[in-house]
Symmetry: D3
Subunit: 279 residues, 6 copies
């Protein structure tokens, strides 16, 4: 799902960043001929995301490594559970270990956090959306992990969707002007989303022809009124100040989407370790 | 402090990742001639890190942007405080905003979290160290932010230091063998660090000639005994299970360094926003 | 409008492709100190597109070149008209000339051809759209030239819009299934376009919820019926077999868009020459 | 014949340009498991060029695709003829289709047009030459297609041959000076070609020691006289204003080469389509 | 031992540098179907270094080439001895030959020269060290060859070790200040080396806490005194003016390391040729 | 004369290779604010080559550095002579010093050695030619230095000239076949050179139409006979076993060119040092 060219570039650059002119410890201490098997273990309950990428890092380092996964993307592992077995030359495994874990722990961390939000609103019609608040260079990976966690992807970048924010609106002299300009200029394949702050702006956006209306930092009472006002004539996204405690309240207002920057900009890494279990 | 070539590559790749074939919203809604001034505001108390890089992203997007910082790296800003003023073409500012914030919020986030650990052990001789648990592609940036927060950098990658871990030890048939091999093979410029799990291994590492001994997941009682045993003959690093609540206990055992993966792998983004304040 | 990073990469790669290990003629025959002025002249009536890029190639080769344009993008030049004056070191001008012209002649060629289609349907509500049938590596340039010629851009790539073609439909087991799957899986920012071959499929697409319906290779009678059937409930794009002779007939059926691959895949280069006029 | 490194770079960049952050349609509508066979069909009479590159694009996208060609480079296909069968995962085939066709249609288009010129002068000793008027980034591909169409390659870039044009001549103060300087400075492996406008210049170039004389925009009477004058002491290239109607007249003057920019800068894409024929 | 990513980049860039737009001779003179076997022969006595890289160049050019080595890295070959047999398509072998030899001859040249220095000091405890005086872009290769020749690697780059030279010392206001600053700022994994010119500076460096002391351009009498003074409290490196005639005198002073720039900046290429022996 | 794109890439890659994650010594020991002036001094008599590139490395590292050259390319400097003054931030100068010297010392080394060969044959008509035996990645730099030393460049790569060697000849079934094939297939801009071993082959090559004949490893008596035989009908290159002692004998046989691999594959670095002279 992540384009192969991006995947390979990330792995290549991350390995080069870490290994640089060589893994001096492994080169000095191992002969290079030692073989063995390592296990990747969860050290807390997590949702697996990026198992194929985790595998790919080891193979990029050494084509002869055997990688046997115990889980697929989207499955959960409990604390102490085994995620994968990795066999082959220990020097290859040890040199790739940290890069492989850095990528994989981030992806599992995002999926695990996303899943908590998704579970928190289960039974409502709302969907959890990500944002563009991702790590520089890792957007494809961050957004893939969101999907694995049960979330949905908002636009992949500035190129992939029209979102008219308050600054655009003021620059254009109001919502109607901004939407009208957009209707004349954007590729027909894209919808138009407008960020609004209050019910007056909701009405303006609706009448201007917005396809999606984003309610920014509104309280849930106003959200409910906005949902009534819009009445199915546009999709509705709620944004701003979402936490695990209040996300269900947001969902129950009847909005279509709830977008959350924290699932990518502040997700803690999932706790996963790699241990040599036999030699 | 971050090599200029790496800085420019990150900015170029991050802008390309976000802008791709073009910022369709800005191109559609703005004429391109609108000018104005934006402010970057802290939305919580933070330590500033990466202000020069934040500036550089805007300049990469448009050389004519004026960037006036209110803070230097390492200074604090309180909630609602202004960090910088950015003036110029609004189209340029809006197209670069998200990438600039993504990088800057991460760096401030790391510095702010690091500072909390550093403050927690003030008055002890211990230093906070980072690890290689950084974002793929962002290591130079993550580690720079740690320094700004008052921490110290452990090795920059596998190329930049010898750290003999349990897996290397078992592959080499024991600590003495592993250290002896390392002494024979590594560049003379590098010290040798050995990871140990208990006091017996501390003694082995010491007699084998380790320059630094890393106490991995030991309790503070054992750490104190290790400090006595080593008695200045090697530097001592404590690692594993460090939190803001227990870090002072660690420091008071007398170790030289405490390394913490979480300051880079799980630092939440600092909350910073950009607002157009005049046009 | 073309992202600066892409612009500079194209210029760098094109210059390297042409100059390689060096311009042996210029190095051998000129001393390097000769200066003078060249003129870029139209050798047929054309629409100018890419004048800024044309300039940029010379400046990339030599920062001290003076480039004075006589036209802006979108303006016309008649046969023999002057497009720009280029002054500076002759060695720099001559080494960059062919690359500069190759890019510029293509862009003007596309804009000139597009303009002919746009003029042919003037007075109707239809818009000319481009396709993804562009030169590998030059899409941003080809599509920019289409806009300059008065056309509109369809999606920039597979990432930038959903277009469900006959093959997708058959793979998914029919239009309804295909559209339903798309509705569940795509980013909310994107509309859904469906390619149809006949009026039955038009109805299916409409009821499935398509935002845009592409009439593929239909005759104008069927197109008119499709327009009636759809009746404003979706946008309509006509595609296939469009020529300068029949494009107006297409437009007069009432469709919203007419897409034409030939304006990019088969546009002849505009005839432009560069002549040293003084030394 | 096209260096492998360039081939792979073009394919990688073209796929990235088109697919970007992902083929949203295929990802949304297909499950990814559908398999089937597609046919590439000629929709007009064409000369095949680049069949191996066409295949390579699909394999780059998915190594498991089966590609069975019906034609080799240089062979003709009639309208409706099958060029190749492509089997495998439909998602892989559909995501690579447009890029594969964009490259292949251009190459076949160039070869087909070149072949028309070659056929038009059959029986004469003249050879059709290409120029440096190629698509930026595609020169190796454009020039390979010319050879497949029966043409010959002029220099590959400014690095690969000495061609002293009118501007070089005036900068050097005359033909004799220019050629003399070149004789002293160029690598011995390269011949010297001089562009001339009339018979006086032909004599100058000849006496100065030119290896090849290019007759620029001369009429056929003057060309014949130039051929007599030169009398085998240099190779002769005719250039400028060549069309399918007059190319035979040019050839019959006795020149060795006729160079034509249009076969690369203005060749229309060959009409080729890809259709899923079984699933 | 050379990171695989660097190895492949060097080979790709070197092949592109040499082959560029194509090997015109091989393409013109061979049909492409000729097969045969070539031998790589030593034309003088050499130490083999880089045999795996030599092989890799041919395989990068053509995966079907068979490469059978007669020697491993570190083994010697006498004049006329066979180093390897290379079989496959002659066009592939001939196009890769020069690049393969250029890399391999340099590496063998360095290893052969290094070995002479290593042999000259056999029986002493001193080790031969390289420097950063390597070919731009080839450091990993140059330093690998030094190890194969029996030498040891000093730091791989400015990132990999602290070496305080006279300029740093004067900038910091003396040795003590410079070392003190370094102790406070460098990563704990790195030792501190200080360059000194006389015995007074030796004492300063020692008392300041230097881990390694580099005696720069001292005579052997002073070196002996320095060895006495230091008395095992720091490692000692001798540097400057080392030749094959005086290196043993240096070694016999009791220093730990002797560093020699000439083994990389001035090593002559080993004389090796490639000959087709059967077709 | 070296294309700017290649120059900047080499400098960027060489700086990144050396500095990597940062110059730990300079960062630790200097405050970054110290300024001063350094001198580049010759430590032996040399020919300067690459002074502009030497300057460019410092400017790439820090745009504010002042670089004042005392010599131009091609001029000589005696032992202890000053080549250039470099002023600015000491941290910038020290971090760039080694890379700048590595490139510059190699280029001066090549020019100095070439000049010795050129002087050795002064008064004869022969010219010194280089070969493709250059450092991988540095060909443009190596060949530029040869020209500065008074030599001439043979082809820049396999793309830039036809040289039919013994292996091509045997693959093609003899000299006549090989040359005939080449005449039919190569771009008209290129001459044909044939390598021969004896006088019989000289005659074959001449009658086949070779433009240049390379006498490989012939003794001077045979060379003289070859010169008589050829009698101006082709250019003549002597190759193989050339030393400073015998090069004049080669030249006096009357050949046009003498090619020498050693001037690039085995040139020792010129001895140049950089010293801070004021602060």
């Amino acid at each position: 799902m992540i384009p192969r060219i991006r995947l390979r570039r990330l792995i290549r650059e991350a390995l080069e960043e870490d290994i640089g002119s060589g893994d001096v410890t492994t080169l000095a201490v191992l002969t290079g001929d030692e073989t063995g098997t390592a296990e990747a273990n969860a050290k807390e309950d997590i949702i697996v995301a990026g198992i194929g990428i985790f595998r790919e890092v080891f193979l990029h380092s050494d084509n002869d490594i055997q990688f046997v996964p115990e889980r697929k993307d989207g499955q959960s592992v409990n604390k102490s559970g085994i995620i994968a077995h990795i066999s082959g030359k220990l020097a290859s495994i040890l040199s790739a270990e940290r890069v492989a874990l850095n990528i994989f722990q981030r992806m599992c961390g995002i999926a695990t956090l996303t899943k908590k939000y998704v579970d928190a609103i289960s039974g409502t019609k709302a969907k959890i959306l990500d944002t563009r608040k991702t790590m520089p260079g890792l957007r494809a990976f961050d957004k893939y992990a969101v999907k694995i966690g049960g979330g949905y992807n908002h636009r992949m970048g500035l190129y992939g969707g029209v979102l008219i924010k308050d600054n655009h609106i003021s620059a254009a002299g109001g919502i109607v002007n901004a939407v009208t300009r957009a209707l004349n200029n954007i590729p027909p394949a894209l919808k138009i989303e407008v960020e609004v702050k209050n019910l007056t702006e909701v009405e303006e956006a609706l009448s201007a022809g917005a396809d999606i209306i984003m309610l920014d930092n509104m309280n849930t009472d106003d959200m409910k009124q906005a949902v009534s006002l819009i009445d199915g004539k546009a999709l509705i996204e709620a944004s701003g100040g979402v936490t695990l405690s209040n996300v269900r309240d947001f969902a129950e207002t009847g909005v279509d989407f709830i977008s959350i920057g924290a699932i990518t900009h502040s997700a803690p890494a999932a706790d996963i370790s790699l241990n040599i279990v036999s030699r």
